[in-house]
């Protein structure tokens, strides 16, 4: 672990009202419809929340609750139908691609690879947004990539082929590529989906450490109740396109609410650290 990866000095022209707030979702909504005359297939109702530097926000909900849609609105891949999503005062949707990639990094469920590449080549892709069109990677890019791999504890994987490493190792390299983008906002889409329990905890522990060091704002989409309870600072609870609650895990994790949202009997207890822990009960 050497120097912190990024220098989060914002451009001087930045219109920031509140320096504490990095991400601000303001009454953002979205509708999927095959064409305007037909009934919409899915609606994400207007919702709002804010996130500070160094905060981990979990978007929690069962399948088809609108988690991925919300993530796409935040990432700027979709333009909100109404409302806005601001990152440091700029609407994420209207950022030019390169600027957006310098500020927002996405770690997806899985990266499909058409042709094999080595881990270092993969991490260097994170530097694309910082380089001109016809470029070769500079010494600086290489150092940042090495540093990113070190920060996720994956230095030993540098020469390995991406299709020959385990799911947990691969997830770390993908995270390293996102760190190489030196983002302000780190988006994780179901990062623990294909990982076993040990790898899940490893990944989230290193994430928590990285957030503390580099002051990223992290948005993580998941349905892992207990991981959210343990690691998140804020929870956005979604069900069928509606935002039911925004708040700390302790305030959102109420037994009746979670049972209704996830359609499963469960109990919630508080740990000594003030973190909620959920236990599933059989339906019989």
């Amino acid at each position: 672990m050497s120097t912190p990866l990024r220098t989060p000095s914002p451009p001087p022209d930045q219109p920031r009202s509140n320096p504490d707030v990095r991400l601000s979702v303001e009454q953002a909504s979205y509708v999927y419809a095959p064409n305007p005359s037909q009934a919409p297939l899915f609606t994400l109702e207007a919702l709002s929340f804010q996130a500070k530097p160094g905060e981990i926000v979990a978007i929690l909900g069962p399948n088809a609750s609108g988690k991925s849609t919300l993530l796409k609105l935040i990432s700027g891949a979709l333009e909100p139908l109404s409302g806005r999503v601001f990152l440091n005062g700029f609407a994420t949707h209207s950022l030019p691609p390169k600027i957006r990639a310098q500020r927002i990094a996405l770690v997806q469920q899985e990266s499909r690879l058409l042709f094999p590449s080595r881990a270092w080549e993969f991490v260097l892709q994170g530097r694309h947004a910082y380089n001109r069109r016809l470029h070769f990677e500079s010494e600086k890019d290489i150092n940042i990539a090495k540093n990113a791999l070190a920060q996720v504890g994956a230095t030993h994987l540098v020469e390995r082929w991406m299709d020959q490493i385990s799911g947990g190792e691969k997830q770390r390299v993908i995270l390293a590529r996102a760190l190489a983008q030196q983002p302000l906002l780190l988006l994780l889409d179901e990062p623990t989906l294909h990982l076993d329990i040990g790898a899940q905890v490893d990944l989230l522990d290193s994430l928590r450490h990285l957030v503390a060091v580099n002051r990223y704002t992290v948005i993580v989409v998941t349905h892992e109740l207990n991981l959210v309870g343990e690691y998140a600072d804020q929870v956005v609870l979604l069900q069928k396109g509606k935002c039911l609650r925004v708040g700390s895990p302790a305030s959102v994790y109420q037994r009746e609410l979670l049972e209704q949202v996830f359609q499963a009997p469960l109990t919630v207890e508080m740990t000594v650290a003030g973190r909620p822990r959920v236990t599933l009960l059989g339906k019989s």
Partner: protein, 346 residues
């Protein structure tokens, strides 16, 4: 970590350039008429010095006026098809994509034939007339790849097998159109159906067309090369590429148009030569890795080498007669396609 540097890129390209030079020398020597290496070297130096008039021997005439232009044509066509193939593979995210397999070459051939028919009807001044055929070929290529792209989608996503089926069906349909056009219309300089269907380098196009495909290749290949590092990221998927800072719509339109130009120009002068665009990029990927900053230029050299070799085989194995060069590339390329398909399925 051994990231790409300019030096390493140039080293690889110069290695291939040397191989290309050797292949060209051998191709110049081989043929129905035997030429000595010494005579060949002497004549070539004279051509390079601009003293073509000093070449007196009949053998020199054969080499300089017949074999050399044909080899240069093979170089440009081979390079165009390979760069187009590598581009289609990245654009469609399908390792089996190739202008011929996807029916794009056949579409270009239909466009070229329609252009030829139009040319005969219009009686344009000769300096414009020659450009209708390549323009038609470009439009034919662009329309076909657009159609295959639309037909190859399932639920809004490009589906690999659907795309290939759409391409193969288009190729078969367009080949039927070519056969139909060739058997119903016979005009001044319409070449036969075998030329368009299989491809051949045996008849040299007019000089203006030769310049056009040379310049067209340079411009289109340069345009694609500006997107080389974007294409690396595009292979992982459009959403991911966008989040890494790729302007996906811009890259798509540049590569789509430039690859259509490359295919159209190649087909306008040589018909639908298959599998070069499939085979060469794969060999280059195996040798030098899948970074498009290396893959695109090495594929250009590799395609030139491959087509010069294939054409030399085409005109020597049954000398003094010859077979069409598309038959040679298909004999090598089709089994390779099957091999890639099997490997993907496993």
């Amino acid at each position: 970590m051994r990231p790409l540097t300019l030096g390493r890129l140039l080293l690889r390209c110069s290695l291939l350039a040397v191989i290309l030079f050797l292949v060209v020398v051998i191709a110049l020597k081989l043929g129905a008429v035997q030429v000595s290496l010494y005579g060949l070297g002497r004549d070539l130096i004279r051509v390079l010095l601009g003293q073509s008039s000093a070449i007196s021997s009949d053998y020199g005439m054969i080499v300089v006026d017949i074999r050399l232009p044909r080899i240069l044509l093979a170089i440009v066509v081979g390079a165009s098809l390979s760069v187009a193939g590598a581009s289609f593979q990245a654009l469609l995210r399908n390792p089996l994509a190739d202008p011929y397999v996807l029916g794009v070459s056949s579409g270009a051939a239909v466009g070229a034939i329609l252009g030829l028919i139009l040319e005969n009807q219009l009686s344009l001044p000769p300096e414009f007339a020659g450009f209708i055929t390549p323009l038609g070929a470009f439009l034919g290529a662009a329309v076909t790849i657009g159609a295959v792209y639309v037909l190859g989608r399932r639920e809004g996503q490009i589906d690999s097998s659907t795309l290939l089926l759409a391409g193969i069906i288009s190729a078969s349909f367009l080949s039927a159109i070519i056969t139909f056009l060739m058997s119903t219309l016979t005009g001044g300089n319409l070449r036969g159906a075998p030329f368009w269907l299989m491809g051949s380098l045996s008849t040299l196009p007019p000089k203006s067309l030769l310049y056009l495909i040379g310049i067209g290749f340079l411009i289109a290949a340069a345009a694609i090369y500006t997107t080389a590092s974007d294409l690396n990221l595009l292979l992982a998927g459009e959403r991911e590429a966008m989040h890494l800072g790729v302007d996906v719509p811009r890259v798509r339109i540049v590569v789509y148009l430039a690859a259509s130009i490359l295919t159209g120009l190649a087909v306008a002068v040589s018909g639908a030569i298959g599998y070069v665009g499939l085979l060469v990029p794969h060999v280059m990927r195996f040798l030098f890795g899948s970074d498009h900053r290396v893959l695109l230029p090495t594929s250009a050299f590799g395609g030139a080498i491959a087509l010069v070799v294939a054409d030399t085989i085409a005109r020597t194995v049954v000398a003094p007669s010859e077979i069409s060069v598309g038959a040679v590339t298909a004999i090598v390329g089709a089994p390779f396609f099957i091999y890639l398909l099997r490997r993907r399925l496993s």
